[in-house]
C-alpha cells in the first residue's frame, strides 16, 4: 500500500469537522506488543488493570488481523489461521464499530500500531492516524535520546497528539 508521499516531511492534517472532544483513548504499540503510549481522555469504565488492558488490546488486534487475513474473500492462497502475519501481508482491518465505541487501527510497515477509540458515529480516521504517525516520526523517532521499544515520554509529542486529537471530530 502506498504509504507516504515522496518528499513531504509531515502531511498536513485533515480538516477537523467538529469541535469538542470525542476521543476516549489512544494506544500505540510496537511490533513486540510493548505499549509505547496510552492516552486517555474520557473513559468512565475500566474493566481491567492497565497491564491486562494493554495485553488484551494487543491480543485482540493480533487475532483480528489473523482473522481478516484468513477470511479475505479476494485472495485464494491464504496461510493457516493463527500464523503471524507480517505488517502489510494479508488483508488487514482498519476499523471496527460497536454500539458504544469505534476503534480505528493503523499498522505501519515497521510494525507500529496506532489505535484510536472514539464514539461510534466517527467517520473514517485513516488520514488522522497517518498524521499521528507523522507526529510520532517527528517528535519521537527523530529524538536522539529516545530508545526504540521503550515507552514514549516526550512532552512535545504528548501535547501535539493531545491538541490534534481534541480537534478531530
Amino acid at each position: 500500500m502506498q504509504f507516504f508521499g515522496g518528499s513531504e516531511i509531515s502531511p498536513s492534517p485533515p480538516v477537523p469537522t467538529a469541535s469538542g472532544n470525542n476521543a476516549h483513548m489512544m494506544y500505540v504499540f510496537n511490533r513486540n506488543g510493548v505499549c509505547l503510549l496510552y492516552k486517555e481522555w474520557n473513559r468512565p469504565l475500566h474493566t481491567l488493570n492497565p497491564q491486562q488492558d494493554h495485553k488484551l488490546m494487543f491480543g485482540l488486534l493480533f487475532s483480528l488481523k489473523s482473522l481478516t487475513a484468513k477470511m479475505d474473500p479476494t485472495n485464494a492462497d491464504k496461510g493457516n489461521l493463527g500464523v503471524p502475519q507480517l505488517p502489510g501481508q494479508g488483508c488487514s482491518f482498519h476499523s471496527f464499530r460497536t454500539n458504544t465505541y469505534k476503534l480505528s487501527f493503523m499498522e505501519t510497515p515497521s510494525g507500529i500500531k496506532i489505535i484510536l477509540v472514539t464514539h461510534p458515529k466517527t467517520g473514517d480516521l485513516r488520514e488522522s492516524l497517518k498524521y499521528i504517525y507523522g507526529l510520532y516520526v517527528e517528535y519521537v523517532v527523530k529524538n536522539p535520546i529516545y530508545s526504540p521499544g521503550s515507552p514514549i515520554k516526550s512532552e512535545l509529542f504528548n501535547t501535539a497528539v493531545d491538541q490534534y486529537v481534541r480537534s478531530i471530530s
Binding site: M25, L60, T68, M71, R97
Partner: protein, 141 residues
C-alpha cells in the same frame, strides 16, 4: 450490486451452526470455517471488555481492506454475521431479515434441535432468494 461473500450463524456457545459461501476465491473448508466462527465469537466477547463506557454489546461492523463484516446478535445470543464487499448498504436490515427466516424456518421446525447445525431445506431456499441482489435492494427501506 450487492456482493455478499458469505454468511455465518453461530450459536450462543460459539459453535458454527450454519455457513453459506457465495464467493469464488475465498472458499474455506469446513474446519477453517469452524475455527473462524469460534475466533469471531471470542473477539466479539473481548471487544465488550475493552469498551470505555458501559453497555457494550460487541462488534457490529468490522471494516477491512477488501471486505466488510456485519454482525447481528439476537437476544438469546445467536450471532449472524455476513462478509460482504466494502460499502455494501442495507446489511443490517438483511441480517434482521435472515433472523426472521431463522425463527420461522428453523426454530419453529419441530425436528430441529436447538444449537445444532441447521439442516432445513426451506431455510436454505428462502435464504438464497434473500441474498440475491434485487432482493437486497428491496430490503433497503
Amino acid at each position: 450490486m450487492a456482493a455478499i461473500y458469505s454468511l455465518y450463524i453461530i450459536n450462543k456457545s460459539g459453535g458454527l451452526i450454519f455457513y453459506k459461501d457465495c464467493g469464488t476465491k475465498g472458499r474455506m473448508d469446513t474446519n477453517d470455517s469452524l475455527r473462524v466462527a469460534s475466533l469471531w465469537h471470542s473477539m466479539h466477547a473481548i471487544s465488550q471488555q475493552l469498551s470505555p463506557v458501559n453497555g457494550c454489546s460487541g462488534i457490529e461492523l468490522l471494516q477491512a481492506d477488501t471486505f466488510d463484516l456485519h454482525c447481528f446478535q439476537s437476544l438469546p445470543g445467536t450471532k449472524f454475521f455476513v462478509v460482504c464487499e466494502p460499502g455494501t448498504p442495507h446489511m443490517e436490515s438483511l441480517l434482521r431479515y435472515i433472523y426472521e427466516l431463522y425463527t420461522d424456518y428453523v426454530l419453529k421446525n419441530p425436528f430441529y434441535e436447538i444449537e445444532m447445525p441447521i439442516r432445513c431445506e426451506l431455510f436454505d431456499l428462502n435464504l438464497s432468494q434473500a441474498v440475491q441482489s434485487d432482493r437486497v435492494a428491496l430490503l433497503g427501506r
